[in-house]
Amino acid sequence: MRAVRAVGADHCEVIIVRAYVLIRVVAVLQPVMTAITSAHHRSSAAAAGLIAVLAVQSAPLVTVALIRRQMPPTWLTGLEVAALTGELAAGTHIYLSVYGQTWTYFVYQYSLIMIVGVGLSFRRLPVMFAVSAVPAAVYAAVSITQLGETPWNAALDAAPYLLHSGVAWMITNAFRRSSHEVDLAHRILTDREVELAAERERARHARMLHDRVLQTLEVLGQGESVADPALRGHVRAEATRLRSFVRGDSDGTVTDGTVTNLPGALAAVAQEMTRSGLAVQLNTAQLANALRWRAKPSAETTQALAGAAREALVNVLKHAGTRSAVLHAELDKTTLTVSVLDHGCGFDGRLREPGFGLTTSIRGRIAAVGGEMSIESQPGMGTYVELRVPAPAHVSAPG
């Protein structure tokens, strides 16, 4: 799929960063307001010093977020959480020396607000909870040992750390996920539009080509109007190539053997075999249609399937005693199937199959990409070769 700008995800990140900066500014304002409104704090050098420390440690995070317009690196956030453990302990001493009211314990309030930023920063839930648990545990410890709280009360006071970060993480995650889905839908839509435009253009050319050249070529390729069988084969091959061009299977001919889309690769194989004298009926309409919105097979899978189909067709040409075969591909929810069928002489499946080396080679190719292969044949009943690989999956949303 072509790279389309991830409009939704970009927008989503910008909003998250804005929210983050706002939260960090409010977190610093909280102790500043405490200092301004309380005479005791105002007069305490220790309180003023600790507030300054909190403001200074917030600065790099906010600056990075503002300049780079993305969340600060998680290691920086981790570092701040580590520093917070010391500040929580130090804060209790300032509080003890000044007041008897919990709400003036401003480091606690600061940390409760900044922990929302932790919820925004870490994408993996266990990591995020582990980081949030550090200040929660430190706070519970110091409030029991330094402030003389009961364990029950301390636990109640520590719980909001996990609650704040957890809710923030949940909302951010849902937001990111839905933005990603919007982008995915947008990308599929853009691709379809481009394909549709190309399809319209191709249809216009196709009309011109098939109305004149292709019709004549195909009739000449059949029957007796061209006496020389070699020339007739050549005409037929050219017609097949023109037909698959008109159909849009591939971008013209394959010269370097590196077609990465499966219908195109199979069309190239069909052309090659037709040139060698085996008329291949190529049935890839279902596949081509399914690929318009389902995940495409990898280049390796495409190469393996096309290579295996080619070997199966060579086998038909060499051993089946027939001049025609059907090459078919089908993609459903679970499986991508490519089959080669001929109505030639067949062979006794219990005996050694002709072209035995070739079939082991096909089996190997398909097994290498996680697929399997089966051969069915009976004398006089033709041969059916089926290649199956698991249907490729779309890249799933992160988080």
């Binding site: 098939h210 309409a285 279902q286 069928l341 009943m381």
Partner: protein, 271 residues
């Protein structure tokens, strides 16, 4: 959308029309006696044609294509097939004259214009099976032609045997579902439709019909499919007919209207 009642009604109308004008499908290889049944008071057009010197066992084919080379080539290929004779050909449908004397019309889809000849298919199919032979393999063209009433669709790169088989099947009133056509019909299944895309046809097939369709797309013969599914060959044929019915279901009313309003349809019963 046509309800089952309407479809049944239309079916009855078609049957009545067929009885009136004796356009029941001609079975290739059938005996003359079958076609000159003594119970019939009125000689049918088919009978008249046979009396006029065309061998009764021969399938009379009309070929319509705007390219002389292609027309000639198709006629040449068909004439080589035993039991098949090309009695009329032309660049347009009107050049064929009356289609009543034909067992099957082989029709090009684009007759010198940018629009497929879907109306011609519907008009012709009301009286004579139409086998479309076109250079276009675009799913929209293929499905459009079938929906318009065609008895089959072949691309011009098909093997001569396939063309002959298609003509035989269409002439006998069957549906010439080639592997290529089956593949394209498969691509019109709702489960493969792009989400939110209403332009693709919604053809709801039963699991057995799906299987049959998939096997045909792989190139299996009806006999082979019967063996694989453990059913009779006639059942496979039934599935194929049902697939055709489902593809053409929305068009049945159009077909009937075309059949009833076709100019020159009504002849005096005393003939």
């Amino acid at each position: 959308m046509a309800s089952p009642d309407v479809i049944r009604m239309v079916d009855n109308l078609l049957k009545i029309r067929n009885t009136l004008y004796d356009e029941e499908p001609f079975i290739p290889g059938g005996t003359d006696a079958r076609h000159l049944s003594p119970s019939r008071a009125v000689p049918t057009l088919a009978d008249q044609r046979r009396c006029a010197g065309v061998h009764a066992a021969m399938i009379a084919v009309g070929v319509v294509d705007d390219h002389p080379v292609v027309r000639h080539g198709l006629s040449h290929l068909l004439e080589q097939w035993p039991g098949v004779t090309v009695v009329a050909s032309g660049a347009t449908v009107s050049e064929l004259g009356s289609a009543d004397s034909l067992d099957v019309v082989v029709l090009d889809l684009y007759l010198g214009t940018d629009d497929p000849a879907l109306e011609s298919i519907t008009l012709l199919a009301a009286s004579t099976p139409v086998l479309v032979v076109s250079a276009s393999a675009r799913p929209a063209d293929v499905l459009g032609a079938i929906r318009a009433g065609a008895s089959g669709y072949l691309t011009k790169d098909c093997q001569p045997e396939l063309l002959a088989a298609g003509v035989l099947t269409a002439a006998s009133g069957g549906f010439a579902l080639t592997s290529e056509l089956a593949d394209i019909v498969q691509s019109a299944r709702p489960r493969d439709a792009v989400p939110g895309d209403d332009t693709t046809a919604r053809v709801h097939l039963s699991p057995r019909e799906e299987q049959t369709l998939s096997y045909i797309a792989r190139g299996f013969t009806h006999e082979q499919i019967a063996t694989r599914l453990g059913i009779r060959k006639s059942t496979v044929n039934t599935y194929v007919e049902r697939i055709r019915d489902k593809l053409q279901v929305g068009n049945k009313a159009d077909l009937t209207r075309a059949a009833l309003t076709r100019p020159g349809t009504f002849r005096p019963a005393t003939g």
